[in-house]
Amino acid sequence: MIPALVVFAYLGVILYIGIFAFRRYQQVDAEGYFLAGRSLGPAVFLLSLFGTNMTAFTILGSAGHAFSNGIVTFGLMASSSALVIPVGLFLVGTRMWALGKRHGFITPVQMFRDRWECTHIGTAIFALQAALLVPYIIIAVMGGGTTLSAVSGGAVPYWLGGGVVAVVVMSYVFFGGMRGTAWVNTFQTVLFLCFGAAALILVGSSIGGFPRAMESLLGAEGTAALLTRERISPRFFLSYTFIPLSTIVFPHIIIFCLTARRMQQFKSTVTFYPLCILAIWLPCVFLGVAANAMHDVPAIAAKLDARALLAAGDAALTAAQVAELRQAAAGDDVIILMLEHYAPLWLAGMLGAGIMAAVMASDSQILALSTMFTEDVFAFYGGKRRFGERAQVQTGRLFVVLIAAVAYAIALQAPPGIFNLAVQYAFSGYSALLPLLVAALFWRRSTKWGALAVTVWTAASVAAVALFQAAVPAPPPGTVVPYWTVGAVDVITRTPGGTAVWGFMPVVPMTLVSALLMVVVSWLTRRPSDAALARYFSPAGDVRSRS
């Protein structure tokens, strides 16, 4: 129960931080509430931007993925992000910041509307962005319920844990707006950077050192492959580098880029971002892999037994039994289990708080959705003109409450698997929207019809992949089911983890076709007016003054 009390104390602290931000800064105008008045300093900008990107998956999912798949997890999800995200911030984030500063944009759709002189096409982009963002918020409420329940040993039921998380996040976003969210994210990132390293040292010393654990894994036939990448194809590995392309397209990240006081603040963020990824992901992945050697932790031993039964491929097992074994072998809670076993109670509580911090990263998405709704729909369709800016901010706050309440209601009803998949589609969807953003910022000849083609293609391809995976059941681990074969080439296959197109993840063709559509449709349609182009491109290709 002590870890649960520490977690509740932590929730109280972040609630105070969010409300303190509200009391110290009266944020009555839209820029003040939604963008912290474009005034965040360098340290808060770096740590909160990084914290915004740390989701439940970063901590629980990465260790769980590493537990099942080995060291490949780091290359798939961390080191590729270490390159792609800072380059995206350097190229795209700085330009978005400059445009926001110059033209007063608060959301990406405002920029698209101005850049391509469109109205309802911007609304279509808003609708797709919002639809792809909602699963994150639901997942966070579910993760909060699961984590609180786990750290309290079941004393806090799932429904109460999810409710507490929804109320806490809603409260500090409601009162603190972007400033409160940024401060909470900064606090959370510092907490996790400190205690992640502590967990690694503590668990390492408790199991008699990591060298012994690694040698024992290498010595066993079933686990030696976890220390290599022999189970993953190079083509699949390459596909994964397309996933972090989504980061700079996420509305909450773009909106966050607009909060920096000066462009100089991107310098430290771009430089330290890869190192922050290293500091957070390496301990999680390594501990996840090392958990395979922890047979003395009863719950982890049970997972290993379930995995061994699955690997044996007993034909007598029914589909229900296989599903049950897969559930039992899943490793999402290995970090919590090893901390419960090896760490002193107070440290387990602090780490539980750190895990909660990551799980609650939905605050930025809730605020972004609220910002987008009030700016791209409410204000755009006349609400701001009719009711004034104060009413716009109040509408944003009401929308925060509404989103949190709906997310909580859905989280209580829906099975978790559905939304894990939805998040998987969302990453691919946002990656496929990258050509839209890049064309708007860097290609004069791009048009609103090209943007519409990309939007329709992205929505259709995400829906197609989701329907395909719902219609064709996943095969057992280690096997694939060819669905469409041309000659000797498997064009579309159903894999245990999703779908493959010529051996690549769907995100690869989705993004490439998206780029092609933007180019072809833009060339076939009339370009924006010279006045619009003059607002965005100087002869040197930079953003220029509109005055």
Binding site: C118, T228, T241, Q264
Partner: protein, 90 residues
């Protein structure tokens, strides 16, 4: 010229992410416990941070910064198209 070389360096790092040379082997265990494939990608992240230092040093878009920070006449939610669609535009 410097910018092209930096772009080439970014592309080279992207290619180096695909380290097929350490694909099937765990040894040597660096520091006695880190499989070589994991150590490679940890070192890769540090190399990326160093490249970012070079990007900022030699390719920082200072023009954007000067123009944006020297501008004072913007308004929130700006842009000509960000007005209600009274004209029925797309």
């Amino acid at each position: 010229m410097t910018r092209w070389m930096l772009a080439l360096a970014v592309a080279a790092l992207y290619v180096l992410h695909q380290d097929i040379w350490f694909w099937d082997t765990a040894r040597p265990l660096v520091f006695g416990f880190l499989p070589i494939g994991l150590f490679y990608h940890a070192a890769y992240s540090v190399a990326v941070a160093l490249l970012m230092v070079l990007l900022i040093r030699y390719a920082w878009p200072a023009g954007l910064e000067r123009e944006a920070e020297g501008h004072g006449g913007r308004r929130a939610g700006g842009g000509a198209a960000n007005r209600p669609p009274e004209t029925g535009g797309r």
